[in-house]
Each structure stands twice: as C-alpha cells, then as structure tokens.
C-alpha cells in the first residue's frame, strides 16, 4: 500500500487511488464539488480540490480528484498560493449562483455552505460581480424539481443518470452559457424518468430538489430523506451507500 504525505502527515492509500479519496478517508478534508469516487475519467471541473504536489523538487498545482497517488508523494493542501486559487475558483462558481439559502430546499446540507464555512469564506463573491442568469425552474416532475440558477455544473447528476443507462441529463452550450439540461430542454416529466431520485441525492446544491409534497409521499423507510440530509453524503463523504428509491 503506498503511503503519501499530506501537509506533513503520513497516510496510507490504495494503489491507483486518487489523492482526494485517500485524504478524505484519512480524515483530511480537501474541498471538492465535482468529484465522484470510482469515476473512470475524473471530471475536474470545479477546481476546488487543487493541491500542490512535489514533483522532482518542484511543486506543481494539480487537482486531487484526478491525480493518482504515488509512493511517498508529498502533497500540500493548505498553502497561500492554493488558498488564493481555490478562493477564485469558488468565487467564479458563486458569481452566477442564485444565493437564497433561506428559501432553499437544500438547507443545511448544502455543500457550498459547507465549503464556505470550512474555509471561512463568504458565500457571496467579494471580487466578482454577480451574474445570475434568468433561467426557468422545471417543476414538471411530480417528485422533484430543477432550478438551474442553483446549479454549479458539477456534472454529478449527469454522470449518475448516465451510469444508470438513462442519460436524461447532460451539459449543453458552453462557456458562460453552459447549462445542465434535458434533450432540447424538454420537461423532466416527459422523458420517461422512473423517479429513482439518484440525481437529487448526488446534487451538492439546491439545484435538484425534492418537492415539498413528495416528502410526505416518500416513506421514511426508503431512506431518501435520511440520505438527503445525512452529512455523510456531502461530496466530501462517502458516496458508496446508495439505496435511493429504485425504480419502484
């Protein structure tokens, strides 16, 4: 088992594992928003997990979610340079985010709140102007809704739906115009989605959320309520325990 050194602390990792997951398992928090454990091709879109890694006497900036561990690798999670870059990445994410925590379905389990409070940052960008786009909420589905103004384009819902062989959601457009949406923006209710609610479960923000009415319909036993509010399911925690509602 390779051992790596993160901010001076030695931890063991599984061979072939990415730095991020080794760190999280050992209780070292590296901010992350778009990483899915076991993903064949890490997405690397949010840039929050950047770390410095010593390579041949020099330090390189790398994303912890995509970099495989090497024996005796030296990793730095908290340096001044990293803090600056990470902060900019976070501000960029928040600059087109409709910040409305009071009325947000995500409430306390929001990963953005977790990141901002862990790193003692404000949610609202300090150096960038807010540019929230005027995008409509899709509440056509009986159980859940989608508010693109809260979407951070982490791709988790896209990948999970894809993994289930459905692919109802995908990225569309590019650059600032990029959105996560359905084919030709068709309403969620029209796609033949069987309401497994995996997308809602993996969404780190209040973009995909359960409707108030559906909370009563879904029996507590099915566990989605629990899952959605369990701190373990923040993207920093284990994503292994699935068990949404299934197709039934």
């Amino acid at each position: 088992m390779p051992s790596i050194i993160i901010d001076g602390k030695e931890i063991t990792a599984d061979p072939g594992e990415k730095i991020l997951w080794a760190a999280l398992r050992s209780g070292i928090y590296i901010p992350n928003l778009c990483a899915t454990e076991g993903a064949e091709l890490p997405f690397g879109g949010c840039r929050l997990c950047i770390v410095e890694v010593e390579v041949g006497g020099r330090r390189e900036m790398l994303t912890a979610c995509s970099e495989t561990v090497r024996e005796r690798m030296k990793v730095y999670v908290h340096t001044e340079k990293i803090a600056r870059m990470r902060r900019t990445a976070f501000e960029l994410i928040m600059s087109d985010h409709h910040i409305d925590c009071k009325n947000c379905a995500k409430g306390k389990t929001c990963e953005l709140i977790r990141i901002s409070s862990t790193l003692k940052w404000s949610l609202r960008p300090k150096t960038l102007r807010g540019l929230v786009r005027d995008l409509p909420v899709d509440d056509s589905h009986p159980l859940f809704a989608y508010d693109p103004k809260k979407c951070v384009k982490c791709g988790k819902c896209v990948f999970v739906c894809q993994g289930l062989g459905k692919s109802f959601l995908d990225f569309a457009y590019r650059g600032f115009e990029m959105v996560v949406t359905t084919f030709d923006h068709l309403p969620l209710s029209s796609l033949g989605c069987k309401s497994c609610l995996e997308c809602v479960r993996v969404c780190p923000t209040g973009a995909l959320y359960l409707k108030e009415t559906s909370k009563n319909v879904i029996p507590a036993k099915a566990g989605i309520q629990q899952l959605l509010t369990s701190p373990d399911l923040c993207s920093g925690g284990s994503l292994k325990e699935t068990g949404g509602l299934g197709d039934g």
């Binding site: 894809q162 459905k166 995908d170 569309a172 457009y173 590019r174 949406t181």
Partner: protein, 156 residues
Amino acid sequence: MEESEQIEEIFRRFHPERENLLLLLQEIQEKVGYLSRGAMESVAHFFHLPPSEIFSIVTFYNQFRRKPPGRDPVHVCLGTACYLLGGNLILDAFSRELHIEKGDTTEDGNFSLDATACFGCCNVAPVVKINSQIYPKMTPGKVEEVIINLRDKDKN
C-alpha cells in the same frame, strides 16, 4: 424532398460509428438547413446514443443551428479583420434591429442571424453576407437601411 427523406438518404451513406457523428450532423445541416428536434432524435437513434448527448454536442458548436434559416439569412463576419474593425458591433446592431439573438430566426421567418468566419474579402471589412450578396464596410448605422431594403424587396 421531405426532411425525413433527406436524413434517411444521408444515413445510408454513413456507418453509425462515433467518429462519423459530426460529419453527419454537418451534412444534415447543409442539406436541410438546420437541425430540428426530430433530426436530432433520428441521429441519436441511428448512433444508439442518448438524445441528450446529441443535444449537448449540437449546442456546443457554434456552427449548428436549431432553427430553420430565414429567407434572408444574415451572416455577420467575425473573422480576424472584421472582428478588429468592429464586427461585434454590427452583430449587435442586427440583433437589436431584428429582435433576435445570434442563431435565431425572426418569427415571420424572414431573417436569421449568424456569425461566421471570413468570406475572403477582408479588404472591405467589416462585411456582412446576406444570400449571395456581400455588404462591404458595414457600420451599425447602415444596418437599419439594409433591413428595410430587404423587407421592401420581399414585399414585391
């Protein structure tokens, strides 16, 4: 020929392998003029790919349009020379006058608006091409006149 027949004809000339996807989309756009919802669905079916993925690809590239081109398709050049001489201002002016964004078509179907790269007449930049005519040395001020003239022409 109907759109679906045109598309069927194109399908016959391609293997449903991923590397052919962009070529095939380009071909449909060239023959039909745009990629309709139905066209994207048939392409998804042909390649055994989810429709959302086709939509993702089509919206990623500027060259694809999802609305039929207008009777007078306006192409504003944003190639290097035209860009440096204010091509974006011309595009903005058309967008304001026609009340449509880049990639859109007016409701009456008369005009569509697109940005393209270089028609090869950089010496008279910035240029706009509408049907086969080149409008040289455009300014935002000339845009209204160009549109009025085309509207009058269409009426007759």
